[in-house]
Symmetry: C2
Subunit: 231 residues, 2 copies
């Protein structure tokens, strides 16, 4: 099926290369949520395309929820599930499934401290937007979203226990440890939940079995090489 993928101009080369390698058409726009939304809506309107939003959508959230079903099936004893948060779709689906299947498990979101709009929204009880330029600072390109979605925010309030933040160095350390000890390649945003477990255990609900979701492995080889070469 033909696909057109709209990405911010700050997307890493490994992701834009992969999009084109798999045969999709790449459209690059300014690195803001509003630019992406405007471009996709215009493409959909002009060409009759089906729009697949990144997170603020019931079907997308339900799809992400299958990860929660897998956690419940593979690890029913889990009492803490850590999930990276960007627009909030991933944690929404996972929290809905985990809370339904394993009610005693707490679900906690993890954000970079350089893009902590969801943490701020969660604390204040209303959706807070960060400036687009600010969220661009984090190495975790997958988590550079200025504001959680409307549906995700409702899920956060109803189903999520807390949102904690991690530093850039903590994400780098988690990428390194995952590669060298778990033999898994994760990108910085994908490793954020592991970083929270490694470095922020005291801020997390006490747990005997924690599950960390690795939500992406598309890391530029040069970045991974730099992280591995630094002890």
């Amino acid at each position: 099926m033909r696909a057109v993928v709209v990405v911010p101009s700050t997307a890493p080369k490994v992701k834009t290369d992969a999009i084109q390698y798999y045969g999709a058409e790449l459209v690059t726009v300014a690195p803001t949520m509003s630019a992406r939304l405007a471009a996709t809506e215009e493409l959909a309107a002009r060409h009759g395309y089906v729009l697949i939003p990144p997170f603020d959508d019931r079907s997308v959230i339900a799809g992400q929820g299958t990860i929660g079903l897998e956690i419940a099936a593979d690890c029913p004893q889990a009492d803490l599930v850590l999930v990276p948060v960007s627009g909030g779709g991933l944690i929404s689906g996972i929290a809905a499934a985990v809370r339904a299947c394993c009610p005693r498990a707490a679900v906690v979101g993890v954000e970079p401290e350089l893009a902590a709009d969801a943490r701020d929204s969660f604390r204040r009880g209303e959706r807070v937007a960060w400036p687009a330029a600010d969220v661009q600072r984090t190495i975790a390109d997958a988590l550079r979203v200025e504001q959680v979605g409307v549906l995700p925010f409702a899920h956060l309030r109803a189903l999520v226990t807390d949102i904690v933040t991690v530093t850039e160095d903590e994400m780098r350390a988690a990428v390194r440890l995952l590669a060298l000890q778990a033999r898994l390649v994760a990108e910085p945003g994908g490793a954020a939940a592991v970083a929270a477990w490694l470095f922020h255990a005291r801020e997390l609900p006490s747990a005997s079995t924690a599950v960390a979701v690795l939500s992406g492995g598309n890391i530029d080889p040069e970045l991974l090489a730099r992280i591995l070469a630094t002890d």
Copy 2:
């Protein structure tokens, strides 16, 4: 349980560090099979230790065979199984299990061309030893063995279809591809079977579903960084 691990002086730091990190005592000897065997036999005799040989042992081979049982359970349609060969214990166990459970699957061994003693032995119909200095040349430290074991050689003759060799660059390319596309960290010897599948398909039995065993992920971070930084 207390453990003493005898390693060649050429073992990579990541492996010796891990042995000590997990609490075992490290004994370093010259990089030859005979030096390792002499040291372990002397330790066992002097202290009453139980000797766990690396490959030429029925129990060790049977233990490795559980990987073959897993392949048969997870991928019963497999018609080709590729296994790295060093002393030959791993492929012996896997071949015994795979040939029993999936008789139509061929099992093929993979060696570095710089340490191809098993290939030579297989071709000549008798165990051939390579000079210890020669097998040290390969980047695949896990496959630096001068000669396959007696029991493994009997398994190779009875159960294995062929042994193919891969170059150093092919193993490096397989490590890189596994990290960036499969998101799995393998050491060079551990990636040898994937290298054979990538670069020597024409030498392999024709297959619709090939399984490559990744037999190790203990790669020095500096080496992995160099492999990732080189396109």
